[in-house]
């Protein structure tokens, strides 16, 4: 009997020791945080720097695509990229930043029922001061305009971006052109609706008590001024 009691007591002590060990371990993260509170981690400030270079390079591709769809100047992207890779060294002088691009693709496919404008650039970033070498990122900008259907007085279209997400707030950004006479139809009313398949559709309704001419061209420009023209032929 006595032996049994002694054994039980031993088990209890073991459990108690384990629990105390658990508590000591739980204090360890607190102590670690206290010890490393003032430890400088330089990568934290460079994350924002790398992020800003990525963000502005993406903006460069967007504004180059917008310019291209307005002027059809095929060289605009490479011209801007070459200027940017020189100017970025001036902006962040002393940090050893080098930004290069490998592929620069700029194109459009217009006057089809499903039309698009697209730009695609792969960048390589080196930052000597932090030992960053060969960091690659790709920027894709795309605007897709699809004429879904046409009835007597209205045209239903959808506008999507590079992630196949619908582009919103474009009610003021549409133009309808009679492809036979090449004249713009002035009186149109644009409304947006939810659609189960396309998520967001725009309905372009003619207010002139006339039928939709065929073939018809629909033009849209995004908030960044990227332009696309789609054409519907029966």
């Amino acid at each position: 009997m006595r032996r049994l009691i002694v054994q039980k007591s031993g088990q209890f002590v073991i459990i108690a020791v384990l629990m105390i060990a658990l508590m000591i371990i739980s204090i360890a993260p607190l102590l670690h945080r206290t010890v490393t509170y003032y430890k400088h981690e330089p990568w934290e400030e460079y994350l924002a720097l790398i992020g800003s270079i990525e963000l502005n390079s993406e903006r460069l591709v967007t504004l180059s695509l917008a310019n291209y769809t307005q002027t059809l100047n095929q060289d605009i992207l490479t011209e801007n990229l070459e200027k940017w890779q020189i100017d970025i060294m001036k902006i962040y002088s002393g940090r050893g930043i080098s930004l290069t691009y490998e592929t620069a693709y700029l194109n459009y496919s217009w006057e089809k029922q499903q039309s698009l404008s697209v730009a695609n650039v792969t960048f390589t970033l080196d930052i000597e001061s932090i030992g960053l070498k060969g960091y690659k990122f790709t920027v894709v900008k795309l605007l897709n305009l699809t004429i879904i259907a046409i009835d007597e007085s209205s045209i239903i279209v959808t506008v999507k971006d590079e992630n196949k997400a619908p582009v919103t707030d474009l009610e003021e950004n549409f133009k309808v052109i009679d492809a036979n006479t090449n004249s713009t139809l002035e009186d149109i009313e644009v409304t947006s609706d939810y659609d189960e398949k396309e998520q967001l559709i725009y309905r372009l309704r003619l207010l002139c008590n006339c039928t939709v001419p065929t073939p018809v061209v629909v033009e849209v420009w995004s908030p960044e001024n990227i332009r696309v023209r789609a054409k519907y032929s029966p």
Partner: protein
Amino acid sequence: MVYDDTKGQMRVIEVILASLVIVFALSFANLFAVTPTSPKYEVTELEKLGYNVLYDLDKQGLLPRFVYSEDWSNLEAALRVSLPIDVYFNLTVYDLNRTQINDTPIFYGDASAFENSKNVASVTYGLVGHDSYNPRILVLRLVRG
């Protein structure tokens, strides 16, 4: 002998309870701890803060909008809202030739703090353009008041 063992167990329970109280007290106090700033790392902390604030404003599209429309008052307001109240700032916008663009100061705080403090951080940030390629260089100076 049996009684002695029971007493020993009670002591152990007391130790466990006391340890639990200490752990919870430490964790609770840690939530409210205001850790002091270190003069040694003050500049790097401010640099990190400056980069993050400019990057966040840029990501939201506010920074290029205010800079390219030369809306300096709203830019100053956006920085005041984004930075802690005890951090003073002075932002200067340049073009690529280092010609100053902002005609009014984008400034918050006590001017003497920038002259007297040893821990003034300077952050350089680049913007590519808004409607066309037109880079701007933003130099944000920060000091704790």
